[in-house]
């Protein structure tokens, strides 16, 4: 992947759209399918507003989004049918502050905490049960978090990150209650859950929770966002009420001094240009800061297909997660 890829891809899309308009011809047909507007002022890197909006709109790059989200749900049903219903526990006072624990048989086992995605707007622990078997059979507990969404919290991302942090602290403090090893807690996340997982890594665990600074022993974040400036400039700001304080506090890449967790970041080659760039730039920044990071590219996977690979010990996301936990496939 080169830095030239983004402009050439966008050029090609414009050319294809232009060709379609030419084929449509003059008159009524042309009115139905107008030529694309000339490129507008650049709002982020070399992207104009529409290009940036598209780069934060997964449906533009993953036409099978609904099909795959449906598979998350049906695969999660199958997982629950096989493993039994998870232990569902409250980590906080409001109804949404619950987490699902799929328990490994081994005693004092490591714990993988998963933070789901959904553009901060949607998603639930229920539909992210499907990776559980990969961890449970390899000897780790799998904990999927529920938390508020940005619509319910009036456009503010802070309540989500506050809950995710509190959920991780709950796991650390209560690991022994479900056979987990508090000294082997790992975090994974996908998409906006990759963003929230990144924020978890820059938490001041000592000051805010009285926990060890390195309470998270490793992290695996796929297809996430690590600097919110371009997101704020995109159409996502229609429903996320960004402020300078939110943008700064929740841009993990600006707080690398607080990063003490070895981590792996991934994206698919069919992720949007911005989702690829976010991961690539974050990996480079962490490396430049002298911190341990592994960067894996899933060749031929789009944003949602990458997530599915967490369920397999031999898929890019699932293999990276087991590697990070020093576990072998079952």
């Amino acid at each position: 992947m080169t830095s030239n890829e983004l402009p050439s891809l966008l050029d090609r899309r414009r050319m294809l759209a232009g060709a379609a308009a030419l084929i449509a011809g003059a008159g009524a047909a042309a009115a139905q399918q107008p030529a694309p507007p000339a490129k507008g002022p650049r709002v982020w890197l070399d992207l104009d507003q529409k290009e940036l909006d598209d780069a934060y709109d997964q449906s533009k790059y993953a036409p099978n989004i609904e099909q795959i989200l449906g598979r998350y749900a049906t695969s999660s049903d199958i997982t629950r049918a096989r493993l039994g219903a998870p232990q569902r526990v409250a980590y906080g006072p409001t109804p949404v502050e619950m987490l699902d624990i799929f328990r490994a048989h081994a005693a004092n086992a490591p714990v993988m905490v998963f933070v789901h995605g959904g553009a901060w707007r949607t998603g639930s622990a229920k539909n992210y049960a499907f990776p559980a078997e990969n961890f449970v059979h390899a000897g780790a507990h799998y904990v999927a978090l529920d938390f508020t969404n940005v619509i319910e919290s009036g456009g503010d991302l802070m309540p989500m990150i506050e809950q995710v942090r509190r959920a991780i602290a709950w796991v650390a403090k209560n690991a022994a209650s479900f056979g987990g090893d508090p000294n082997r807690i790992y975090v994974s996340g996908h998409s906006s859950g990759g963003h929230l997982g990144g924020c978890a890594l820059i938490t001041d665990w000592q000051k805010d929770f009285g926990l060890p600074r390195d309470v998270i022993k490793g992290a695996v974040l796929a297809c996430g966002m690590y600097d919110l400036k371009p997101v704020r400039l995109s159409a996502r700001s229609n429903y996320v009420k960004f402020t300078d304080a939110v943008e700064d506090a929740l841009s993990t890449q600006r707080h690398l001094d607080r990063l003490v967790t070895p981590l792996t970041v991934l994206h698919g080659t069919l992720d949007t240009p911005e989702f690829r760039r976010q991961t690539r730039d974050f990996a480079a920044a962490v490396k430049a800061a002298g911190k341990p990071i592994e960067f894996i590219i899933g060749n031929g996977y789009n944003h949602f297909e990458m997530m599915e690979t967490l369920a397999s010990p031999f898929g890019p996301f699932g293999r990276a997660a087991l590697d990070r936990m020093k576990l072998a496939p079952a």
Partner: protein, 309 residues
């Protein structure tokens, strides 16, 4: 829904033009042609084919298969991914590609599942129908000979000749079906129950509608070929448990072929399991065989009595 809307578009296109004479069940020629053209129902076919290639390359890099000849012509080779366990069961995989394309090299993505679970994984190369001048017989003959080679030479790579299983996808499942109706005793002097179980996904088990479709343009079907290579017409020769699978996003004919074959096996009193992959298209469902917790991966490990999880 991407694949769903493609199906809907195909149906809409069908409604927009006058329906022609029915050539198979309730389908006119275009509908039947489309039902044997995966691209019409799986818009991401190229993406997934590339993914299979790169994932296979990564697997080959990690596991380094042995490549062995099972016959005299250059294409008659097979790749063996060996497990460490001695006297281990063997899975023989028959690739798909509409009988026209595909190779052992690009169909290795499931190897780790088997090797890790304690089985050898053998992927076959064989001639394609274009090279064979439109006849399917040379492909079938080679695939059968390759399976016989595995039986006779299993101990040379630590395999147990009494635990040989086969799997296939798409046209490879057609060929796998034909393997199950082989007369091993008469043709090879081998035990009739040489194959101990089969997992066939997204295959074809009666060639009549295929012959009527546009695939007839490159496969030179004859009455003899259609009869001999329609597994569903030779159920009496099947003597092992069979798992069949298709995805809900497959073409109507690929769903029907599997459904009808499963029903016919059941009626004949054979051991058959039908798996339906909800939300998977023709190219996506085979990927689940690379995951021990995926639809096909779980099923195939169960079939081989490996690591019940």
């Amino acid at each position: 829904m991407a694949a769903g809307s493609t199906t809907a578009e195909a149906q809409q296109a069908g409604a927009a033009r006058a329906k022609g004479p029915l050539v198979w069940l309730n389908m006119d020629q275009k509908e039947l042609d489309d039902a044997y053209d995966q691209a019409v129902y799986a818009p991401n076919s190229e993406q997934i084919a590339k993914r299979r290639t790169v994932n296979s390359a990564a697997v080959r890099e990690r596991l380094k298969p042995k490549r062995v000849a099972y016959g005299p012509t250059p294409v008659e080779m097979l790749d063996i991914y060996t497990t460490r366990q001695p006297n281990a069961p063997v899975m023989v995989f028959i690739h798909g590609g509409a009988w026209r394309a595909g190779s052992a090299k690009d169909n290795a993505e499931s190897a780790e599942l088997f090797v890790n679970a304690g089985a050898h994984f053998v992927v076959l190369d064989f001639i394609n129908v274009m090279e064979a001048g439109g006849s399917l017989f040379p492909m079938v003959e080679q695939v059968r000979r390759a399976v016989a080679w595995v039986y006779k030479n299993a101990s040379s790579f630590g395999g147990d000749p009494n635990r040989i299983y086969i799997s296939g996808r798409s046209s490879g499942s057609h060929l796998g079906g034909v393997v199950l109706i082989t007369d091993w005793q008469k043709d090879f002097g081998l035990p009739a129950d040489l194959v101990k179980g089969a997992l066939l996904s997204s295959g074809m088990y009666d060639l009549k509608p295929v012959r009527l479709s546009k695939r007839g343009a490159y496969v030179k079907f004859t009455d003899e070929m259609e009869a001999a290579l329609s597994t569903q017409r030779h159920l009496d020769r099947i003597n092992c448990p069979v798992i069949l699978a298709h995805g809900t996003y497959e073409t109507p004919e690929f769903q029907r072929q599997t459904r009808d074959f499963a029903a016919a096996l059941k009626d004949a009193g054979k051991q058959v399991t039908l798996l339906v992959g909800v939300g998977y298209n023709h190219f996506e469902i085979p990927e689940t065989m690379a995951n021990p917790y995926g639809l096909l991966g779980r099923a195939v490990l169960g079939l081989m009595n490996l690591r019940a999880v």
